[in-house]
């Protein structure tokens, strides 16, 4: 049975042609592609087969995608119509669920898109159907055309990989991201796109998929395997508080005069200058806002190991010793990867 095209699937879900065209226009603008190309490709591309696996995590990425207000087209494309297997959203359980997964993999072997949510702990910390997490991942990666690691956990290990700042601290479960396992040769090497964030922006998750459907290849990636399209700039680059940063006007507590006047949040721990993500451009909750706009500094959730604060002074310590007069300047490994790292000395 041939799969319906993306357009046909959406039409079957009651999405109007105009909504489809608008979605194509916005996606095209976001991905810097010509509108006609996106519309023509999505009208003709068969709905992809997506297998979505969960490992050690909180399921926040799936929540991010499916709990946007109305069913957005992002959620329709990603979660309603193209998913052949998703442990949170499917009704099946037990042996039946295991069979659904192996059948879906067999039917689309070599062609499916594998989405991984959650970190991979060492043997003994997570098992499904009596099988080890890494063994399940291994088997699924082998038949995938593309692997997308969504969220901080699947990309870089995330919270499960975090460890105590005290000497000898290690992650109890030995959790790792998919790329760590590929590098170590524990799972086959396949095209891998990291879409980090805790959780990632829904439009970024679907944007990556749309890019792949239109161009039949992965977008350009940075050294952390993040699409440069979305992670090419730092949060600070486009921050509305940047003028205050330049003028040295910083909020010092969350309710001082500076905070009320919208001054820079650097001294309250903002990691915007070291964090590559699209929050300032795409925003959250369908364009409503994002942390810095709502008065809280950037937590740096799209960078490797953001959960670990080696300086042990917590989330609100400034990342720059120079301006904070404290802290050790550590940014949880957050300065790798993108092209636009700022240097603030």
């Amino acid at each position: 049975m041939t799969k319906p095209t993306v357009l046909e699937s959406l039409t079957q879900q009651g999405v109007s042609r105009r909504s489809f065209l608008k979605f194509c226009a916005i996606s095209a603008s976001m991905l810097a592609l010509p509108v006609d190309k996106v519309a023509a490709a999505l009208a003709a591309a068969p709905m992809p087969s997506i297998i979505w696996l969960h490992f050690q995590e909180c399921t926040g990425c799936t929540e991010s995608l499916t709990r946007s207000f109305d069913p957005t087209l992002e959620s329709l494309i990603l979660s309603r119509v193209s998913l052949d297997y998703h442990e949170t959203l499917m009704a099946a359980a037990g042996d039946q669920a295991e069979r659904v997964r192996t059948d879906a993999m067999k039917a689309n072997y070599g062609k499916y898109i594998l989405v991984v949510e959650g970190a991979l702990p060492k043997t003994g910390f997570a098992a499904k159907g009596g099988r080890d997490a890494i063994a399940i991942l291994n088997e699924a990666v082998a038949g995938a055309a593309l692997v997308i690691a969504v969220g901080a956990c699947a990309s870089f290990g995330g919270l499960p990989k975090a460890f105590s700042p005290l000497p000898g601290g290690v992650s109890p479960s030995g959790a790792q991201g998919v790329s760590d396992l590929m590098k170590a040769g524990k799972v086959p090497n396949k095209t891998l796109i990291n879409v980090p964030g805790c959780p990632p922006i829904p439009e970024v998750m679907s944007g990556v998929l749309v890019y792949y459907l239109v161009n039949k290849k992965a977008p350009a990636l940075d050294s952390n395997l993040r699409p440069k399209l979305f992670y090419g700039e730092t949060v600070h680059d486009e921050c509305p508080r940047e003028d205050f940063y330049e003028d040295g006007q910083f909020a010092l507590t969350f309710d001082d005069e500076g905070a009320r006047k919208g001054w820079c949040l650097l001294k309250l721990g903002c990691r915007g200058p070291k964090t590559h993500n699209a929050c300032t451009k795409i925003r959250w909750n369908q364009g409503v806002s994002y942390p810095i706009r709502s008065g809280h500094g950037c937590l740096g959730c799209a960078e490797p190991d953001f959960w670990n604060r080696k300086n042990s002074s917590g989330a609100y310590a400034s990342i720059y010793a120079l301006v904070s007069g404290g802290g050790d300047g550590d940014c949880g490994g957050g300065d790798g990867g993108g092209d636009d790292d700022h240097d603030h000395d």
Binding site: S16, R18, S19, L21, A25, I26, S29, T72
Partner: protein, 125 residues
């Protein structure tokens, strides 16, 4: 509105020239085109000037699908200004379409067929 040409920034002049070329291609070969305003390094002043220069022509429309999209034909036939908004009325995309009619305004044939079936249903109910 008359704007002194010497005051028009180079980027806006280049854009107007590009639009003119695209309109000629539309007139000569029926080939439509688009210009994504978000992808251009326009300063707020440039943006406002371009909007003023192109002005508003005879047609203005709002399409309600995934939030409003506001469309108007500029003073120059075939040059349409399209602003996509989300449900909270925030601009999420803006393009200039060079076409005889923006695709968002045209009724789709399959939808026309589905619509007529619904219309006939109203008679039988």
């Amino acid at each position: 509105m008359i704007v002194d040409e010497t005051e028009i920034p180079a980027l806006v002049q280049a854009l107007v020239a590009e639009i003119a070329t695209k309109v000629e291609t539309l007139a000569d070969h029926g080939q439509p085109d688009t210009l994504d305003l978000r992808g251009l390094p326009l300063l707020p002043g440039d943006y406002a000037l371009l909007k003023t220069l192109l002005g508003t022509g005879e047609v203005t429309a709002t399409v309600s699908a995934l939030g409003p999209t506001r469309i108007h034909e500029t003073l120059y036939p075939g040059v349409w200004w399209v602003t996509y908004c989300n449900e909270s009325e925030e601009v999420i995309g803006e393009i200039i379409e060079i076409t005889v009619c923006p695709s968002l305004l045209i009724s789709d044939n399959e939808e026309i067929r589905a619509g007529v079936a619904r219309l006939r249903d109203t008679l039988s109910n």
